[in-house]
């Protein structure tokens, strides 16, 4: 089981309390599709992804970004058992969506950078460490049911 310090629990809760799910989700996913263009393979039905400009204003991508970030709420509410909390979602990503789990890491990095840009100096080294640990645990849980 993952051990969380009080600082880590407070930091993670604090970040999610202040997040604007719509903006952050949309920005992070758009960034991921632009910086790692091969991730676009999973979005064939999402309309115009022809260039960075189109991706940034694509409403389907924006909506999906929000869904993904809301997916993290499950971990927030189940910090002491993230592994089990994500069993269903892991099976979904593996068996239905067929997403290469390396993409979880790529999205996680883009989300980290999006938050850094939004939070500025508040996203200090200790906050970064706590958030990255959280994302690492979620990513690991999402990979768990792959076979």
């Amino acid at each position: 089981m993952v051990e969380w310090t009080d600082f880590e629990r407070q930091t993670i809760a604090g970040i999610f309390a202040k997040i604007d799910y719509e903006t952050t989700g949309a920005t992070a996913l758009a960034r991921c599709l632009i910086v790692y263009p091969w991730t676009q393979r999973y979005f064939g039905n999402f309309g115009n992804l022809y260039n960075a400009g189109a991706i940034k204003i694509n409403p389907l991508i924006a909506k999906h970004g929000t869904i993904i970030v809301h997916g993290l709420d499950r971990a927030l509410k189940n910090l002491d058992n993230i592994k089990d909390a994500y069993t269903e979602l892991s099976v979904l990503h593996s068996d239905k969506l067929h997403v290469d789990p390396d993409n979880f890491r790529l999205f996680s990095d883009c989300l980290t950078l999006t938050l850094a840009a939004q939070m500025g100096a508040d996203f200090n080294a200790d906050v970064q460490a706590a958030f990255q640990k959280f994302m690492l645990v979620v990513v690991s849980a999402l990979k768990r049911q792959y076979h």
Partner: protein, 143 residues
Amino acid sequence: MSLSDKDKDTVRLFWAKVAGNTEAVGSNAVYRMLTVYPQTKTYFAHWKDLSSGSVNVRKHGKTIVNGIGEAVAKIDDLQKGLLSLSELHAFQLRVDPTNFKILNHCLLVVLAITFPAEFTPENHVAVDKFLAALARALSDKYR
């Protein structure tokens, strides 16, 4: 994932902004690396003070960011341009090349914080490609 002419121009323009801030950006990135990835501290056992404002961290941050600036100037042939730095890292420092990726990530975080408006996805992809190419060139002499 080679650098296009557009990537190179983007990197040159973006890195010009960092030029005035080398110690701040560098020391922030190094301190983050040591804090977020504690295994990197193994390379600095000889430093007594690893804290955020310490002389060691600030000086090393500046050294690294100046080195990156050098690489920007030699962006048209990184392998040739970084030959002696690669030899240094391969034969003397023997830093495991995985750590280049770690430091690159920390640099990107600092750039996002320091230049939130300019760190657009378009600039991000060019800088990310450049830092990856830099890491490859730096690892060239390893074996």
